[in-house]
């Protein structure tokens, strides 16, 4: 596939963003390749109902 891009004038007055989060990108410029991944795990077994036991300590 051939793709032709012509960049003409690009002027933006103002940008307001609340949050750029979890592998997101806010780019003012040019780029070639972007790969963004974000994985989030909340399975049913992550809801623990019981006495509050601390998690295993870090090594």
């Amino acid at each position: 596939m051939n793709m032709q891009v012509e960049n003409k004038e690009l002027t933006v007055g103002s940008v307001q963003i609340t949050g750029v989060s979890s592998s997101s990108v806010f780019l003012i410029g040019d780029t070639q390749c972007i790969t963004l991944s974000s994985i989030f795990d909340t399975p049913p077994e992550s809801l623990i109902i019981g006495p509050l036991v601390p998690l295993a300590a870090e090594k």
């Binding site: 596939m1 933006v12 410029g29 963004l36 109902i49």
Partner: protein, 126 residues
Amino acid sequence: MSRISVVKQITVNEIGLGSTLFVGDLVEVKPRSKALAIQREVANFYGNEGNLDSYAIFSRPIPIPSIYEDVKMEICSSNPFIKVGTVDILSISSSSLMQVGSNRTIDAETRTKHIRQLLPKDQKGT
């Protein structure tokens, strides 16, 4: 080939968890962040808690869609500037990137494990 970015003013309140605000040109950025998000009914936390190795989410490979088409791109920049007046951001977090300038490759990855710990019914309100 790449254009020049011109920004008059940038306001960012917070940058955290492996994130970057970069002004200038880059070749490759690879931000990574791993987070254990624990919510407890009783907010008792010990400083050394949490072992990332015991959760598969922090080590399993993330599938990336494969590119099967050969794309040839021709870029012609008749105006060499990208002009922006003001940028106002509240927060940049969890291996995110804000950049003013050009870039070749961005590869960001976030892994979050969320656990809720609640008290049994008979222990509530104690």
